[in-house]
């Protein structure tokens, strides 16, 4: 597997401000990667560096095998799609004209634009001016230009902000399709829980540094967060249930007919086996630590160490 992206010791300073510090990441082809972090964590700067829009202060960057600020890198941008945060288009042109303009720049035929607009649900507005578009429609136009011409690499900066849930779903479907075609994609997002099911790798950034990177499961066990189990029990049987599970859960609390347990990840199966033998337990819900929690846990650890 050749690396689609390889960053080694990359740093970017704007005057005294270090936007990105010593970032080293390697991403394989066909992976979907979530880049998560606060505003100002350096996500957008990292995108700009990988696109060759700014030069790194230190370190080396290879994107699709080329340094993005060289003419070779410029050529390889034919195969890169980018959706910037808060995408803006010229208001005077129609959606179709806008897309055709970008198609020309990507050396693609203008005839594929109409179908692509249809695909992102803008078919009815293709001939209307972008100035009349809603925020969600502009975002969809932005997505259309990013996936123009079958890119091998996609950079999506906060792609789902301002989209309603239905459109968001459609958006993830499209990303899933591209993933099946072997497209490498990097998404940054605030809405972490949405991303969980759709990513292979997570890169957590904080104040310009990579705090943690890896597969979600690996990060989950690294963070050592508890699995939470919620039980519904027949009224009056709290004591029995708690007795049956004694020693397995690291903490428990009960209110009304529900019991909340927290346990280490490795004890989860044992508890489930035990639960199935207790007839007074009516229902069970298990919550793995979410991406949000993992993210918070790493940031917390970082702040404590600092």
């Amino acid at each position: 597997m050749t690396a689609a992206i390889c960053l080694a010791g990359v740093a970017k300073r704007y005057g005294a401000l270090a936007a990105v510090r010593d970032v080293s990441i390697e991403l394989g082809q066909g992976q979907t990667v979530a880049l998560v972090g606060h505003n100002g964590a350096g996500k957008t700067t990292l995108f700009k560096l990988m696109l060759g829009l700014t030069r790194a202060s230190a370190g080396s960057i290879r994107v699709l095998g080329a340094d993005p600020v060289t003419p070779n890198g410029q050529r390889s941008r034919l195969e890169i799609g980018y959706l910037p945060e808060n995408v803006v288009f010229s208001n005077a042109l129609s959606g179709l004209e806008t897309l055709q303009f970008y198609a020309t720049l990507k050396r693609r035929s203008r005839s594929e634009c109409a179908a692509l607009l249809e695909r992102v649900g803008l078919g009815h507005a293709a001939r209307k001016r972008v100035g009349t578009y809603s925020k969600g429609m502009r975002q969809r136009l932005g997505l259309a230009q990013a996936v123009l011409g079958a890119p091998r690499l996609l950079f999506l900066d906060e792609p789902t902000t301002g989209l309603d849930p239905l459109v968001r779903q459609g958006f993830y479907e499209l990303v899933g399709e591209l993933r099946d075609r072997g497209v490498t994609a990097i998404l940054s997002s605030h809405a972490l829980s949405e991303l969980e099911a759709r990513i292979d790798q997570v890169v957590i950034m904080h104040k310009g540094e990579v705090v943690a990177a890896g597969a979600l499961d690996a990060l989950r066990s690294l963070a050592g967060l508890p699995v939470r189990i919620r039980l519904s029990v027949s009224s009056g049987f709290h004591g029995e249930v708690l007795y049956a599970l004694a020693g397995l859960a690291s903490s428990s609390s009960s209110s009304g007919d529900t019991i909340e347990l927290a346990c280490e990840s490795r004890r989860k199966m044992e508890i489930i086996r035990r639960i199935s033998g207790v007839p007074q337990i009516l229902d069970v819900a298990i919550a793995e630590p979410s991406l949000d929690e993992i993210y918070a846990s790493f940031l917390h650890g970082k702040d404590k160490a600092a």
Partner: protein
């Protein structure tokens, strides 16, 4: 090349949509028609060609107006796109930064050329229709071409400003400053210098050189003295004898005033962090 043409085409299309082209053409046509008919009223018996008179008055109009229009088109072209965030997306495409400047320049020159030729052409056409006299049309065509060249020099200056400064407000202020400097202040300062100097150090060759350092003056000299018929009428005939500036040198100056700022803008944009 296709990148440059695509960007130029987009500029032209936007110019049509936001009615820039229409407004400029109408403005130039209205002013040109007014000047032509007011200006030609008293010349019925002088014997100067109607067209020559028109060239004299239109080139004076051009010196004031075309630089302003060009700067208004150009000052926003780069820093405005950075401000709005549209440049970020555009440069993530396989487009070199000099191609961006070249494309915008090409599109804006086309807009200026269209507006000038249509606006001024209307008045020339009206004259020809009324008097049936089209002698001197070559001079008129030369005036049109040099007007577009003057506009293109100020377009290039506008991009230079737009690529250098951080925000649109500063670019707008600087563009107005450039207009004031080249169109109004430079000549006044030159005049003051001549009066004070009394011809001791500022001799004719020095003055000629100084005129080349202002695109508006190069244009003025080209149109008011370069063309014999017109020179007669504008009272510049005497000046023409002293002025050793061949039209070729003046045109070369205007071309340089376009090429150098354009190259400067491309170089500055190349280093700029988006």
């Amino acid at each position: 090349m296709s990148n440059i043409l695509a960007i130029a085409g987009k500029e032209i299309r936007e110019g049509i949509r936001n009615r820039w082209i229409l407004a400029t053409t109408l403005l130039l046509a209205a002013l040109a028609l007014t000047l032509t008919f007011l200006g030609s009223a008293p010349t019925g018996t002088v014997g100067a060609s109607q067209l020559a008179v028109t060239i004299a008055s239109l080139s004076s109009l051009t010196i004031m107006l075309l630089p302003l229009i060009a700067l208004l088109l150009a000052y926003d072209a780069i820093c405005g796109e950075i401000d709005r965030g549209t440049l970020l997306l555009l440069l993530s495409y396989p487009v070199a930064r000099w191609q961006l400047i070249a494309g915008k320049y090409l599109g804006h020159v086309a807009i200026l050329a269209f507006a000038t030729c249509m606006g001024y052409g209307v008045s020339a056409g009206a004259l020809a229709a009324i008097h049936g006299d089209i002698s001197g049309w070559q001079s008129f065509a030369a005036m049109l071409a040099s007007s577009v060249l003057l506009g293109s020099a100020f377009l290039a200056l506008g991009y230079l400003v737009s690529a250098s400064v951080a925000d649109r407000g500063a670019a707008g202020g600087l563009a107005i400053g450039i207009w004031l400097l080249f169109v109004l202040i430079y000549d006044m300062a030159l005049l003051g210098l001549l009066v004070v100097d009394q011809g001791r150090t500022v001799t004719a060759p020095v003055l000629n050189l100084l005129l080349l350092f202002n695109p508006a003056d190069a244009y003025r000299v080209l149109n008011l003295t370069g063309l014999a018929d017109v020179a007669q009428f504008t009272g510049m005939a005497g000046v023409t004898q002293d002025a050793a500036l061949a039209p070729a040198a003046l045109v070369a100056a205007l071309v340089l005033w376009t090429a150098v700022p354009l190259a400067g803008a491309a170089m500055i944009l190349k280093r700029r962090q988006i």
